[in-house]
């Protein structure tokens, strides 16, 4: 349980050493490594079937602030803490390379956000999860509004507005509804709602939950994600490809599996809408992504669409697709963080943000664009990247459940994502730079950034071959 305290301690200590950048960044790296080590040591026990619990104190009568480890949370915590190490390396290069201001605040909020993420991953009941969910929103707000100009303020507005209002208006209400109906908020295998909520009310409650978790970016509550792209790229990378958005879909999966229970939802026609909303989000977001010229915005819409994949996989309600959903949390994290790293390194080295400006950049930045290509392939779902595996499981689940509609949606979206990723790779490698003379010869980005993105790109491939651990954990989720 030291896992939660490490980033918190980091957040307290960082301002004290803020005067010496080297110490500050070493401390960040130290925290990140310690955290990952801590989470990793917890893994074998969970794999063996243990569910360690840690109750802090009673919040309301009968309702504790409690943590409980389980496989899905393990996957999420492992991914988030591992990528924090790499992002820290990357952030050092990025923040120095772009001479960003107020770097201490940046690192402090980052550590706080990670603490909140771990809190979400290990939460033992809905209330604990909700507390850390709000903490995550608030601790990332200063990161989104980091630049403090009009654009950042507007982005921060949307970010906070959507996330805070959906969580207060829908999620809190749904939690209270659950509490008043069942007098428990624990995550239990098989769900807690069976027998307490009936008929169409199940569909309504599900809507409150799913839309209440604005972080899952299901349409129409996805606007905050593109808005958050005004943040410095390391933020977009770790928080808006991994921690924040994954916290959203993670919550959705947990609510479906441990609060409703798969069986309850399977027998209830009023809950079917989730599948269609997720499918619509996948397709619409992909089409919007096609039209984005700003690289980070294109990635953001791609994230919206990929998140809906996980929701879709959950909504299929087949064991195999749930395994796929859990795997996709890890797969998308590695792939998307690589893409964001690449976008940030292009911005740092060449000060370019648009796809249309990238002609021939592959020759100047071969490592960056190589990694970008690998990340894209993982997004599309081509072997030998891990994106293929998760998609495979989702498809199998859909087939086993007889959801032909879902299968069609997955195929269509695969084509669409190929359509918005491949052109980027094409212009980068196969088109000549448009103007030769005025390009002052930039090369690769600073080495920490390149190192980070090569590592994550390698990760997407490695996970494909070393699938054992995440797969075992994912299977633990469905009790297979």
């Amino acid at each position: 349980m030291a896992a939660l305290l490490i980033p918190l301690a980091g957040a307290v200590l960082l301002p004290l050493v803020g005067r010496w950048p080297n110490v500050r960044e070493a401390l960040t790296l130290l925290c990140a490594s310690l955290l990952f080590f801590c989470v990793a040591t917890l893994t074998p026990a969970v794999l063996a079937g243990a569910r360690p619990e840690w109750v802090l104190w009673e919040f309301f009568p009968g309702l504790q602030l409690a943590f409980r480890l389980e496989p899905l949370g393990m996957i999420f915590a492992l991914v988030a803490s591992f990528l924090w190490i790499i992002t820290s390396i990357y952030a050092i290069g990025y923040m120095r390379g772009n001479q960003e201001l107020k770097q201490t605040r940046f690192y402090v909020c980052f550590a706080l956000a990670l603490a909140a993420t771990i809190g979400i991953a290990f939460a033992g009941n809905l209330l604990t999860l909700f507390i850390f969910y709000e903490a995550l929103t608030l601790s990332t707000y200063p990161l989104v509004a980091h630049k403090e100009n009009a654009e950042a303020r507007a982005g921060g507005h949307t970010y906070l507005g959507v996330l805070l209002s959906t969580s207060i208006a829908f999620l809190l209400l749904a939690i209270l509804w659950t509490w008043s109906a069942t007098r428990t908020l624990d995550f239990r295998v098989g769900g807690i709602l069976a027998g307490s909520v009936h008929g169409p009310m199940i569909g309504l409650l599900l809507a409150l939950y799913v839309f209440g978790v604005g972080k899952a970016a299901l349409m129409p509550f996805h606007r905050w994600l593109p808005a958050a792209m005004v943040a410095p790229t390391p933020v977009s990378a770790l928080l808006h490809a991994v921690a924040v958005v994954k916290a959203g879909v993670f919550t959705v999966v947990k609510v479906v599996v441990y609060i409703f229970g798969v069986d309850l939802l399977k027998g209830e026609p009023s809950a079917d809408w989730l599948l269609y909303v997720a499918a619509a989000t996948i397709l619409i977001a992909s089409m919007v992504a096609l039209r984005q010229d700003n690289l980070k915005r294109r990635l953001a819409y791609s994230t919206v669409s990929q998140l809906a994949y996980i929701t879709l996989a959950t909504a299929i309600l087949a064991p195999l697709s749930l395994v796929g959903a859990a795997l996709h949390i890890a797969a998308h994290a590695f792939g998307k963080i690589t893409l964001f790293f690449a976008a940030g390194s292009i911005y740092t080295a060449a000060h370019k943000t648009k796809v249309s400006e990238l002609d021939g950049i592959g020759q100047r930045m071969p490592w960056t664009m190589g990694a970008f290509a690998i990340g894209s392939l993982s997004m599309i779902g081509v072997p030998p990247t891990v994106g293929f595996v998760s998609k495979w499981y989702i498809l199998q689940g859909a087939l086993s459940a007889g959801q032909l509609f879902a299968v069609l949606v997955i195929f269509a979206s695969t084509l669409l994502s190929a359509a918005y990723y491949l052109p980027v790779i094409y212009v980068a490698f196969f088109r000549k730079p448009a103007t030769r003379g005025d390009q002052s010869g930039h090369g690769e980005a600073p080495w920490p950034m390149v190192l980070a993105l090569v590592l994550t790109a390698a990760g997407t491939m490695l996970l494909f071959s070393l699938l054992g651990l995440p797969l075992d954990l994912a299977k633990g989720l469905v009790g297979a």
Partner: protein, 494 residues
């Protein structure tokens, strides 16, 4: 020692009442401040002792001057008013401890002792209203507190404070008159002024029109005092133009005591059966609460002065308390009583940050907050935490209140209203965040230097802020007391 504990109820009022004139006699603002701080903390200690006594042994009855209850004045303390005494004396003590610098900056030098005198008189009035078990005694203390609070507001020295104070005087006097008329009518039909006694005799004459008239006069009169929408018009100006520490004191006490009065008259004297079954008061209170929450929050969003913004927010928060009362259930009353305590902590903390800001900047205009996040980091951090508590983010007291209020609504099956409550807290997000954005994301206009408020104001402010967090994290104490208070009001035993 035995002797002293037996006289706690009267000591609660006598202590500030004696200390008040001493403040005038002590020449020198510092001495007067020191004495009033001591007196206030003394009251707080007495309130704690009383609460412990009540929690352990049940309600305490004290016959003033040894005259037995129906004839003499009885002071009667149960869980409900012991809790209110604790809130009022606690807020007064903490705020007063941090008030010296702010008051010396805002009030004319030769009147500072007078301010402390008024403060203590006002405190004695509030505590008296809460402690007494005699309806006419309520009116007496009401007037003591009201008249001294008009003076407190007017002492600010700004010209507009005079108008605000005068307006408050008119409205407050109307309210007090209504209350005394109501008490008179009750005396007419029951022949007694003792609360418990009236409560026992009323059911026999409940059908009479006189009782209904008394009920109406009392409800409107108390409504004026607690700024229940639409009787709230005196509040924004009074809060805005009073000296900042005084506002912090009022925000945590004045309206809270009035809410207590409403609880006492409705449940102990008239009884829930009469008030809600015969008169159907929930259909008066409920719409007013809802309208009040919504319109006051909306108005708060458009304020240009942060103090005024918080004042409007206070009116909305009164709506939440009334909403809980109008549910007439144990959970509903628990939510209201909890919010009484929690909102006192929230608003006093927020108005204390206003005292910090006014002390340094000399203004609380929103535009002047630009860049304050850098210039006054501790003050603005306190504001942010207080603001989050006002919105109702988990781990703050605001969340605990909201949790119980929505739970109470769901218990009654009032779906649309629970949706309304969560939506209205989004309005709170909007008005709090306007200030936060201005302070942190807007660069300062000139090359302004850091100007953190002095520790003498900051420490009490942060004490309140930390209390916000503490009682938000471990709510067992407050929830337990509030629940017992609710049960005793409704006459249900757990």
């Amino acid at each position: 020692m035995m002797l002293l504990t037996a006289h706690l109820p009267i000591l609660q009022v006598i202590l500030p009442l004696i200390a008040a004139p001493l403040c005038v006699l002590l020449r020198g603002p510092r001495l007067a401040w020191g004495l009033s701080v001591l007196a206030s903390w003394g009251c707080f200690a007495i309130a704690i002792a009383l609460l412990r006594q009540v929690l352990a042994e049940g309600s305490v009855s004290y016959a003033l001057g040894g005259w037995a209850a129906p004839w003499g004045i009885e002071y009667r303390v149960d869980v409900v008013n012991a809790f209110v005494l604790l809130i009022v004396s606690g807020i007064s003590s903490v705020v007063l401890s941090g008030a010296r610098a702010g008051i010396e900056a805002e009030v004319a030098k030769d009147r500072i002792e007078l301010l402390y005198t008024c403060w203590l008189l006002c405190l004695a009035g509030f505590l008296g209203i809460a402690v007494t078990g005699d309806t006419f005694n309520v009116f007496v203390f009401l007037e003591i507190s009201a008249i001294s609070s008009y003076a407190l507001i007017a002492l600010s020295g700004r010209r507009r404070a005079l108008i605000a104070s005068f307006r408050y005087l008119i409205m407050g006097t109307v309210g007090a008159t209504f209350i005394v008329i109501g008490v008179g009518l009750l005396y007419m039909v029951t022949g007694t002024l003792n609360m418990a006694d009236i409560g026992a005799r009323l059911p026999a004459v409940a059908e009479s029109r006189t009782v209904a008239a008394a009920f109406a006069f009392l409800t409107v009169g108390i409504g004026l005092k607690m700024a229940l929408f639409p009787l709230h018009l005196w509040l924004p100006n009074a809060y805005t133009y009073a000296p900042a520490p005084v506002t912090a004191f009022f925000a945590g006490t004045a309206t809270k005591v009035a809410v207590y009065l409403l609880l006492r008259f409705t449940f102990t004297i008239f009884g829930a059966d009469y008030a809600f079954a015969t008169v159907a008061m929930e259909w008066i209170l409920l719409p007013l609460a809802v309208l009040g929450i919504f319109s006051a929050s909306l108005v708060a969003i458009f304020q240009l002065d942060v103090k005024r913004l918080l004042a409007w927010s206070s009116i909305a928060q009164i709506g939440y308390m009334v909403l809980g009362i109008s549910l007439v259930s144990v959970t509903g009353l628990t939510a209201s009583t909890l919010h009484l305590f929690n909102h006192a902590l929230i608003k006093s903390a927020l108005f204390m940050t206003m005292a910090c800001v006014f002390y340094r900047i000399g203004s609380t205009q929103l535009a002047d907050f630009a860049g304050l996040g850098r210039r006054m980091p501790w003050t603005m951090a306190a504001f942010v935490v207080g603001g989050l508590s006002l919105i109702g983010i988990p781990l703050t007291v605001g969340f605990v209140s909201k949790w119980y209020l929505i739970l109470a609504l769901l218990e009654r099956g009032w779906w649309p209203l629970s949706v309304f409550v969560v939506l209205s807290s989004l309005l709170a997000v909007m008005y709090v965040w306007r200030v936060v954005e201005m302070a942190y994301l807007q660069p300062a206009t000139s090359n302004a230097k850091p100007c953190e408020a002095p520790a003498s104001i900051l420490i009490p402010t942060w004490a309140l802020v930390l209390a916000n967090l503490y009682f938000g994290i471990d709510s067992s104490l407050t929830v337990g007391i509030a629940q017992r208070a609710a049960e005793s009001l409704l006459g249900v035993s757990s």
